[in-house]
Amino acid sequence: MDNNPILRIATKILFAPIILFGLYVQFHGDFGPGGGFQAGVIVASAFILYAIVFGLEKGKELFPLSINLFLLALGGILYGGVGIASMMLGDEFLSYNVLGSSQQAGQHIGILLVEFGVGLTVSNVMIALFYAFASFESSNGEKK
């Protein structure tokens, strides 16, 4: 698809708004429909679109596998970390009440961080799945 300017330019134009929309869904999730899972998929779709249009190599240049794996684990660690933090502060696992100065503030911080963790993991799992399936074909061609 390298020689198709419409696709390439459209992708470049769309890339930032897709991520912006992902962030909107992410942080709007506290108050309305949305949340980490949906936002993660939307953000991942931007990177996947880029890799589809510009090729897998370029996609991996933009978003290397090592960062992908790191962020994938980091999201889970963030989620669990919130739980551990609330245990350290003397309450049950994932009890947000103790995280802030008041109960409401605590709930707010808790859900924000947890959803962010979910978003990170989901988007990176999506990208990792795409990379895995996309590189499957090429590695199959040069089978040992």
Partner: protein
């Protein structure tokens, strides 16, 4: 700090391997990732021992996740019943991780070892979570975590033998069918009762009489769990999965994976539903009892005709699962206790046998079939003696752990059902001697290749020695296992509503 740990023990046993699996995946060095995994399993084992102490102090611990009061929120319940599979899983996972240090790099590419250990911890976390949770849907989630992680682990065997991919695929599809059946059952029960908390569910079920959806829901749940537990006609995935998984993974799965599901089976049969209910009595006598008896013989006979040793042991596992479900099916306190005793002992026995075979294939660097066993007994005396001791334990010879469990199962079946079941158990044990002898004969009496020189490696056999020692120890002094199992059976069946 200790306060916090004690207070949060029920979640910590699950959280520790779950969180560490995320860290392990980021460690590039294979040795460090092994050390971290070993350390994690050790800590988890210590947590479970602490939990054991706590349970015997308070009899049952309830932990509300996120401080949402059950039955609204997710509840983790540790009682005298669930502590037994937790101890089994954490103990075996520690020993197998210790054992895996040299075995794993021999079969897996260096680049993917840390990922394998990450999956390894994830599978352990899933199994422990399965046992600790008191919420029907959360149970499903852990069921999926553990089985998806184990499917991926089995598939890693493809680096040595492409058959592993077929095995993993079978396991994936059948496992998914099982999990779907379970969740359909949960859905039906949720529709009738409006609750997902297992304790709450059981109290609401007693108020409902003669509801077809209830029966359907029960059926779906039981069949789903029976697939996961590899109860006889639903065991097809098991031999292949155990045979073609990377060796260390076979040890872990053979010793722990079905135990957690068997526990869930017992929990659904006796605790969620009521044993005095005709539905349960009918299921036990007309479904589970006959299937267990067939399993005892079918598993053993398939093992006798099997040439590949890992498959042979897997078939023998099916027969042993038959003993456990048979004990549950008889449904008296003594027999359920016997089931738990055998659950613990079988984990030790099968873990040890798989370890011994794995060490042999590690030294020889090829698959172990009945023909390659020739002369191995003399070439590797330590591994061979452990193998013989654990074989005796499997056959149920006195002074080994296997004897204790057979003894209690037979005692319980005689007092409940008369002599005929005891005779069947004895017959099946006698048959199992055939395949055990076949292996031992090949190892000791058959002439091996002349150039067969093997230097046994301490890092490989220490774990094997430890688990063999446990086999003998729990054969000589079984009081801890027997007492905890009877306490568990009391708690499981005792509170009749």
């Amino acid at each position: 700090m200790t306060d916090i740990i004690i207070k949060n023990l029920p979640i910590l046993v699950v959280l520790c391997p779950l969180m560490m699996s995320l860290f392990v995946v980021l460690i590039p060095n294979t040795f460090i990732s092994w050390v971290v995994t070993l350390f994690t399993t050790l800590i988890t084992f210590i947590f479970s021992l602490l939990l054991y102490q706590e349970v015997y102090q308070y009899s049952s611990i309830s932990y509300a996740l996120g401080n949402w009061i059950p039955p609204l929120g997710i509840e983790y319940v540790i009682d005298k019943v669930s502590i037994i599979p937790i101890i089994i899983i954490t103990l075996i996972s520690f020993l197998t991780t210790f054992f895996a240090s040299k075995i794993m790099p021999a079969e897996i590419n260096n680049s993917s070892i840390s990922k394998v250990y990450s999956l390894w911890l994830l599978a352990i976390a899933g199994l422990i979570g399965l046992v600790t949770t008191g919420d029907a849907f959360n149970l499903f989630v852990f069921l999926e975590i553990s089985s998806l992680a184990s499917v991926a682990l089995v598939a890693m065997g493809a680096q040595k033998d492409k058959q592993a991919l077929v095995a993993a695929y079978n396991y994936l599809i059948l496992g998914a069918v099982g999990a779907t059946f379970y969740v359909i059952g949960v859905g039906l029960l949720y529709g009738i009762t409006g609750t997902l908390n297992l304790a709450d569910l059981s109290s609401r079920i007693t108020e409902i009489n003669d509801n077809k959806a209830l029966v359907a829901g029960f059926g779906f749940m039981i069949v789903g769990i029976m697939v996961k537990a590899a109860v006889f006609p639903l065991h097809i995935w098991l031999p292949r999965a155990y045979a073609y998984a990377p060796s260390a993974v076979s040890v872990l799965l053979a010793a722990t994976a079905t135990k957690a599901s068997l526990y869930i089976l017992a929990r659904i049969l006796f605790s969620v539903f009521d044993i005095s209910d005709t539905l349960i009595t009918l299921t036990l006598t007309y479904v589970i009892l006959p299937l267990s008896i067939i399993a005892m013989f079918a598993g053993t006979i398939m093992a006798i005709y099997e040439k590949d040793i890992k498959r042979l042991l897997a078939h023998s596992s099916i027969a042993q699962i038959g003993y456990i479900t048979l004990a549950f099916a008889i449904g008296t306190k003594a027999s359920v206790a016997a089931g738990f005793i055998h659950m613990f002992n079988h984990a030790l026995i099968k873990g040890a046998l798989f370890m011994a075979i794995t060490s042999m294939s590690f030294y020889l660097n090829k698959r172990i079939t009945i023909n390659t066993l020739s002369g191995l007994g003399r070439a590797m005396p330590i591994t061979f003696s452990c193998f013989v001791i654990c074989s005796l334990s499997l056959a149920g010879v006195p002074l080994t752990a296997g004897f204790i469990s057979k003894l209690y199962i037979i005692k319980a079946s005689i007092s409940a059902e008369g002599v005929w079941i005891a005779l069947l158990i004895l017959a099946s044990s006698a048959l199992s001697v055939i395949y055990l002898w076949k292996m031992i004969e090949a190892m000791w009496f058959h002439e091996g290749p002349k150039d067969l020189v093997i230097k046994e490696n301490p890092t490989v056999y220490i774990a094997l020695l430890m688990i063999t020692f446990l086999n003998i120890y729990f054969g000589l002094d079984a009081s801890i296992v027997v007492n905890s199992s009877f306490e568990a059976a009391d708690q499981l069946l005792g509170v009749q509503k």
